[in-house]
Amino acid sequence: MASTSKKWVLGIVVLAFVVPLLKPIFPDAISDYRLFLVSTMIIASIAVLGLNLLTGFNGQFSLGHGAFYAVGAYTAAVLMDQLSVPYWATIPAAAIVCFIVGYLFGLPALKLEGHYLALATFALALAVPQILKYKWLEGLTGGVQGIVLNKPEVPFGLPLSEDQWLYYFCLVVMVILFWAAANMLNSRSGRAMMAIRDQYMAADTMGIDTALYKTVTFGISAAYTGIAGALSASAIAFVAPDSFNIFLSIKFLIGLVVGGIGSLTGSVIGGIFYVLVDNSAQALSQFVKNDLGLPFDLSAYTVFGVLLIAIIYLMPMGIAGGLFMAWRKIRGAR
């Protein structure tokens, strides 16, 4: 089982590396716009993976991961804007900053469980845009205006377009991060994380340092989401406080729930999914207006909200988990 799924993953990764090179052959199918879209999906899956490490594998809820995404994005943006740090160097910097911020937020979170942690992180998500606009930070963050950046340039004179290069950059970061996460979850630390999720008291009694694991997991989770934020700052070449509102955190939650709580592959599916819905919202709205004749501007969030509730009812393991179960059933029936 493990080796076949490993082959699948390897195959998909190789495919992901090769396909964009075919751009000159199929210029219509592999356009710059599509590559950019896939890049944002990659970024989204990293962010969802961050949330999944915390909620799915460690059992701590967060409705405020948009905050860490914002910290990552702003760290990257300020470094590029103020100190002209190259974009690739902002990724580890954002990871470190977000790890520290996440670790610090994890300390009070130790005392909270269930609804209360959700409440505290929800409050964090609501307050983020305001914190980013704080007057003392204005010199760095540009206040309401945000910061305009340059898109990453193609290095070494490689014959790639900007979007192609961005895609490869995001893909490499994603592969490294998922590989690291898979290894971590397969190790002693990963088992400790999941033991804390499943049976807190038993884990504590077994000698697992629950406080340390919970705070460090918070830090790592924040670092992952922060890296996604830093990548998005490079990709979009712009950061502004009001884009990091509560709905960003809700999108991560959508990714988590759709992909499946506690599933690595699920994080990818979740990330792809929310970007897709977000991007097709316009088309969806048109469809509802023109084809169904309803006088509404259907937004992506209606779809998100309905899906959140529907999935909790129908596929508690997420779409990935649900399909996997269905597949097993079909194979079992044969």
Partner: protein, 301 residues
């Protein structure tokens, strides 16, 4: 000095709104142990309903009553249809459903009524209401209306058989069921009442913050802070917490203003209101989770 009094008075007016929303949150929390993250958006939706009714020609108070009644129905329906089947679901599922409701209400309101900010009328006469220089007519009106609502609720829960049944269902569902209280309908009624109270808060505050789909986000956060300060399991505490937090909010902004005037250093002002609420929430949760008037919950292992 006069400015100081003004700040306290407007703090009390805001506090009345927070108290209402906090009370709605507490009502749901006490009976089901759920924190309703969609409470603010539900109140916003009710406010839009009343606005719609007014544009169709109803007077303010007629629209008010119809909207509050519709909100009651909305609350009951949501409880029966969406939350009832998840009775024993894990906490995460419940939270996800609430977030789903939040997203639905927000986007549907935006779809129907657009995201453009609308003005909302005040029903209180400008001339004969309020105390000049201290509290404006609308602010005083808000305080009066919320106090009336709170008084009605108190009478309802304290002196009517239905109120008693609802309290029984919240406190000890099994025993209540044994003596013939229909516990699940009491929960639905609780949701309806919470939704109505939220509607009152929304309609009262819309004149101050203007009507738009995101109008309740900040208020919800302050309501959370109020409920926590007062103790999230205590309705009276939540009301007290609302007033405390309302005044505190204005005092912090006022103090920040004075410091800036005196020293020229900007520390805190109106722009940091949500941050202040965040700090209150995290502070109370970590330092005194039971709040000022709440019960300390001891968990048996």
């Amino acid at each position: 000095m006069e400015q100081f009094l003004q700040q306290i008075a407007s703090g009390l007016a805001n506090g009345a709104i927070y108290a209402c929303v906090a009370l709605a949150l507490v009502m749901i929390y006490v009976s089901t142990d759920h924190i309703n993250f969609a409470q603010g958006e539900m109140a916003m939706f009710s406010t839009y309903l009343s606005w719609q009714l007014m544009t169709w020609g109803l007077s303010f108070w007629a629209a008010f009553i119809v909207a509050v009644a519709l909100s009651f129905v909305m609350g009951v329906v949501i409880e029966r249809l969406i939350l009832r089947p998840l009775h024993n679901a894990p906490v995460l599922s419940i939270i996800v459903v609430f977030i789903g409701l939040l997203a639905i209400f927000n986007s549907v309101a935006g779809a129907i009524w657009s995201y453009l900010i609308k003005e909302f009328p005040s029903p209180f006469p400008k001339s004969s209401f309020g105390i000049a220089g201290v509290i404006g007519p609308h602010q005083l009106g808000v305080v009066v209306v919320t106090l009336v609502v709170l008084g009605l609720l108190f009478v309802f829960f304290r002196y009517t058989p239905l109120g008693l049944a609802m309290r029984a269902a919240a406190q000890n569902p099994q025993m209540a069921r044994l003596v013939g209280v229909r516990v699940d309908w009491m929960l639905a009624l609780g949701w309806g009442l919470a939704s109505s109270i939220g509607a009152v808060a929304g309609i009262m505050v819309a004149h101050i913050v203007y009507l738009d789909p995101n109008m309740m986000a900040g208020i919800l956060l302050y309501a959370f802070a109020s409920a926590l300060v007062g103790g999230i399991s205590n309705p009276a505490g939540a009301v007290a917490g609302g007033f405390i937090v309302g005044v505190l909010e204005n005092m912090v902004a006022y103090a920040g203003n004075q410091i800036e005037k005196a020293t020229g250093i900007y520390i805190i002002g109106n722009g940091e209101k949500l941050t202040v609420a965040l700090i209150i929430v995290i502070f109370v949760l970590t330092v005194k989770p039971a709040g000022l008037f709440g019960r300390v919950v001891v968990k048996r292992v």
